[in-house]
Symmetry: C2
Subunit: 92 residues, 2 copies
């Protein structure tokens, strides 16, 4: 594996590698969710969720559709995300 690819892939994997972000990704695997939906489920602040969503957006793992004041987030690469979660899950 060449160094460029290794860097790119590592950046992508870093986006996965946080418990809150994993929970967000798992939740979005069930369907579109807005930030308040996630606030109801996760034991962290709105600000923190928003920060993690920024990381996930930068990694192009999620995107959103604006609906009035709401931002409806969804997985932009569901196969990748669900594949990774399934692999790890299978390994236990």
């Amino acid at each position: 594996m060449d160094a460029d690819r290794a860097n790119e892939w590592a950046d992508l994997l870093k986006a996965f590698a946080h418990p809150t972000r994993l929970q967000i990704l798992a939740e979005l695997g069930k369907g579109t969710r807005c930030v308040t939906d996630m606030e109801d489920i996760l034991p962290v602040t709105q600000v923190n969720i928003s920060q993690h969503l920024t990381v996930l957006r930068n990694a192009k793992l999620v995107d959103f559709a604006q609906d009035g004041a709401l931002r409806c987030y969804y997985l932009s690469r569901p196969k990748l995300v669900e594949g990774v979660l399934a692999l790890i899950s299978a390994d236990h």
Copy 2:
């Protein structure tokens, strides 16, 4: 996803999330390698490789067989490792 599982999985993914470690894992995907083999391939010091191998060992992604002074490293969960690499690779 419950918090315990999220933490556990995040720890595992952190082990993947470094360019040098990804290159080590990819190399071990081709077969057993000792540390000097990796030194020949990677542009980093022996010490640094050893440190990254420690991280990978702690995550139970690799293990080694001692052969005299050599330590022959191999993937202890090849399906997981190769699965993750294949998924990311497919996504490009």
